[in-house]
Symmetry: C2
Subunit: 555 residues, 2 copies
């Protein structure tokens, strides 16, 4: 894979970006009657309007050429057909297989047939549990039906299921699903505070069954259950696991029948479609979960078949490259105008920053350009009363993706109309800005006297010309949510390909874990590692003194 700067179209785009830096989005929009139609596309129930990006048709043409030169279509085909694209770990990345429709098996390459059989079997296993819990067939150790599910996991075993359960709240049934992820014992303690052990089901999500956070919380959950009178044999009524480590799960007390598999060809941040999503399937019921898978599969199909110029994930990725590597953006903001999507930025942070926050290429050579940006955001309208000040008037231009379901599941259409109006208004305000002259007239019209209006006008003025995408859907449903997450997955993949990196590994988290193990050993004993830096050593000394104080108070 050639790197980004070695693609022939790179220099063309560099030259265009120098011109476009002076361009005006609002003007380009006003003078080209076909811009909106040509810069809008639909796929899998989603619509993307990128006409408020800082680019013109020449840039779009060059970006599409760049995508051809980076072989995006071939890379997509390689991904979806299970080629080993995760080269540092020698694995394919086959999360798309997790949502492939059951009857699509004939279209799969033979090499995938075995994996697909496992996926189908796991789906059946998930459906069994989703129905057994919802139908109250499955019961706890006192014979009562399950009322609450606590899914324990962290990273990809947490962010995806947590997002999906909240996003699909209008589709949820009677079972309440809770999520525990932090090693801080307060997380589990707070969650269990309102629950009844006899009616609580835990799902332990850990590929290795060794993740520190997950295992320590699982042990706490088991202790809580046993403290309520559950015997060792009763545990199988209250614990499921999603893991590849059956012996460790068995030793913990989880029967093999209660274990659902994971595979090394599914990364944590792509695992919500696997058994890691079981808590969601219980929350929304199997049919809705199947619709969620189908929505993602529809996006996979679009990703595989649409030409680059009509391919929504590819276009979004090329826009990310344009904003980051040509216009200098270091941040990417995601603003879902839907309260139920308030966790989407957290989910996308992992998806994009763990995938593309890298500085060497596939071959391990250092890169001399920026890769993945920082991604952050919040549910609109919350940010309008917070960080939007910086989006509008700060010295950093942060491209924004607005995400807007056009209808509401509530019975308050008037209030939802305000939400829609706010979303459109923010998108427009970022683009049009306000000149000092306009600010001055506005102040005069409001009745501000003139010397004061002149003094204040520069403070009200806004540069505008800040790029944004508008991603809309008629309604937030299981299907459109599935399509939305798959859209961002594929966008992230394409950007990784354009940057020449492997978006499927995460070696950068290793060192922290190793040092953590060493420091935990030191905190648990009373030795001092002479190689430890003085700052860490000072804090360990202080921590130990505090522990002694606490212990002596306890005595």
């Amino acid at each position: 894979m050639p790197r980004l700067t070695a693609l022939p179209e790179f220099n063309t785009l560099k030259a265009l970006s120098a011109q476009l830096a002076q361009g005006n989005i609002a003007q380009m929009l006003a003078t080209d009657n076909h811009r909106v139609a040509d810069f809008t596309m639909a796929a899998a129930g989603l619509s993307l309007d990128f006409s408020k990006q800082l680019l013109n048709r020449e840039v779009v043409a060059a970006l599409l050429k760049l995508g051809v030169q980076a072989q995006l279509k071939q890379r997509a085909a390689a991904l979806l057909s299970g080629k080993i694209l995760n080269t540092t770990e020698n694995r394919p990345a086959l999360h798309s297989l997790l949502r492939t429709p059951k009857d699509a098996v004939v279209n799969q390459p033979t090499v995938l047939a075995d994996k697909f059989q496992q996926v189908i079997a796991t789906r059946a296993h998930m459906q069994y549990w989703a129905e057994a819990v919802n139908n109250k067939q499955h019961r706890g150790f006192t014979g009562e039906a399950i009322t609450d599910v606590v899914s324990i996991g962290t990273g990809g075993s947490d962010l995806g299921p947590r997002l999906v359960t909240e996003a699909l709240q209008p589709f949820c049934g009677d079972i309440a699903c809770h999520y525990v992820a932090n090693v801080d014992p307060a997380d589990l303690q707070d969650t269990l505070a309102g629950l009844n052990p006899a009616t609580t089901l835990f799902i332990i999500n850990s590929k290795s069954f060794r993740t520190q956070e997950t295992l320590s919380n699982a042990l706490g959950a088991r202790q809580w259950m046993q403290g309520a009178g559950a015997s060792a044999a009763d545990l199988s009524k209250h614990f499921l696991a999603t893991t590849t480590n059956l012996p460790a799960a068995a030793e913990f007390g989880i029967a093999a029948d209660n274990c659902l598999p994971l595979w090394d060809w599914v990364g944590g941040r792509y695992s919500v479609w696997s058994a890691v999503g079981l808590s969601c399937a219980i929350a929304v019921g199997w049919d809705h979960f199947q619709q969620f898978l189908d929505g993602a599969a529809a996006m996979d199909e679009h990703f595989a078949s649409a030409d680059i110029g009509a391919n929504m994930p590819m276009i979004l990725s090329l826009l990310e490259i344009w904003n980051g590597n040509f216009l200098g953006a270091t941040n990417h903001v995601v603003l879902p105008y839907d309260q139920h999507l308030h966790r989407l930025p957290d989910f996308l942070q992992q998806l994009t920053m763990e995938s593309n926050g890298k500085q060497v290429d596939q071959c391990g050579e250092a890169l001399d350009y920026h890769t993945g940006p920082v991604l952050w955001g919040s549910a609109g309208t919350m940010g309008q009363h917070s960080f939007h000040q910086l989006l509008h008037q700060g010295t950093l231009a942060c491209p924004v993706d607005f995400i807007l379901p056009l209808t509401s599941h509530t019975d308050k259409p008037e209030q939802h109309r305000m939400l829609v109006a706010n979303c459109l208004a923010q998108s427009r305000a970022l683009m049009v800005g306000r000149s000092v002259e306009d600010a001055h007239s506005t102040l005069l019209a409001r009745g501000t006297a003139d010397p004061e209006a002149t003094r204040l006008a520069p403070h009200l003025a806004m540069p505008g010309n800040r790029p944004n995408n508008m991603i809309t859907m008629d309604s937030l449903t299981p299907a459109t949510l599935g399509a939305l997450l798959a859209l961002f997955e594929h966008r992230t993949f394409c950007s990784g390909q354009l940057w020449g990196i492997n978006p499927f590994d995460q070696w950068g988290v290793e060192l922290g874990k190793e040092i953590g193990t060493d420091i935990l050993a030191e905190l648990s004993g009373d030795t001092h590692d002479p190689d430890l830096d003085a700052s860490s050593a000072q804090l360990i000394t202080r921590w130990r003194a505090l522990q002694r104080d606490t212990e002596s108070i306890d005595d």
Copy 2:
């Protein structure tokens, strides 16, 4: 006020930053036996260790001179004594007065005496309500005691109280407090779903009593209450308001006795110490809320009295300037290693980005340097399985503030020890990094065969030398939380002074509101504004078509 680049020490620091870009934090730490002691300070129950910043003693000395040249001490005194520092709005910024101890009145300048009397009276009013609700003296329209409080507000009327209530969860009593902020009707609907109108008390926080989000949610709450049988006269048992607009509150149905005042000399993002914090005072009880105020007052006292070199908010601000304007950071990451502080990044986003996301100076002149960075983060250890990959190996260096309470309120010290170990490990890993050679030996030691170890080593390598602060406290209590929030308030103020901007206004949010009003009118009617851009117009057309479809289905 001279601007940052006009301060004499600016060029010295520019030269030093060129040298320091090649410096190595770990090496500086290893070769200077006094670095940790000299780069550590304590105030108001908090400790700051900035020895893992990319700087040396020469830089620190130059930064302190910069602080002197920017007159930080004088500016702090001006702030605390009520000078009109919010020049565009002609107001002082007197949030510190909200926590000034009752018996400190003699030390206040006379000009503040009247304001202080109002503060003391409001505190008494807050205490009355906190006790009346907790003691079950105050009862709902059916005579039942209050079990739940729903605080409705947005921005500063939401983020602060929400954070404080969750952060002090171990100190909370029986009354559950909930927060509703989004204009999306799903926010209110989800919150009310589990509540009983007869035992629910609403607090409507809106200075103007006109904020769209807050008023529409308040109307929804009143409708819900009336739907449950509450008469107009009953509303006073279920609605309090924090507002300056008594007539509007009265018209809504809230008696004057139920209204607590706000003042124009308290900005929304600094208002948690005012009656806007009433929900917190109810949640934790008055004594704890008083301790929260006292903790902040202790930080105010430190801020007012400590020399620049020993002044924690001033040092943190100078470090922000060093990282942003000299080392090129565009982001600032905050990682509280405490689950109860998981909303701190949201709160700090408003505090810092709404304060310092500006591009003109106090006089309205355009600035030619970067001002406030983007702030984001999450509770540790959650981010370790998400965006830490980018922190360690991405192409953007993001300075980090770790925040760590050294003890836990839970009864699981072993698990809390893991949390502490993880925090220390992340701080150290960011600093030390890992060379390709070291990665190679590590892989060999793990049993990876050599050609493979050589191939993988560059992927495991990490640059290190990424700066971070460690802010610790013995325990997260009302007092240390108060000190922590006041610390960040004053840091934000100092940075605003160094950048030459007014951190107390937020003119950048105006245009979006104005356009929002216009678009809402258009959505509510059937006209088309010919001046609207084609992208927004297209979306309005689509939204209207969807509404018609929905209505015809309803018919």
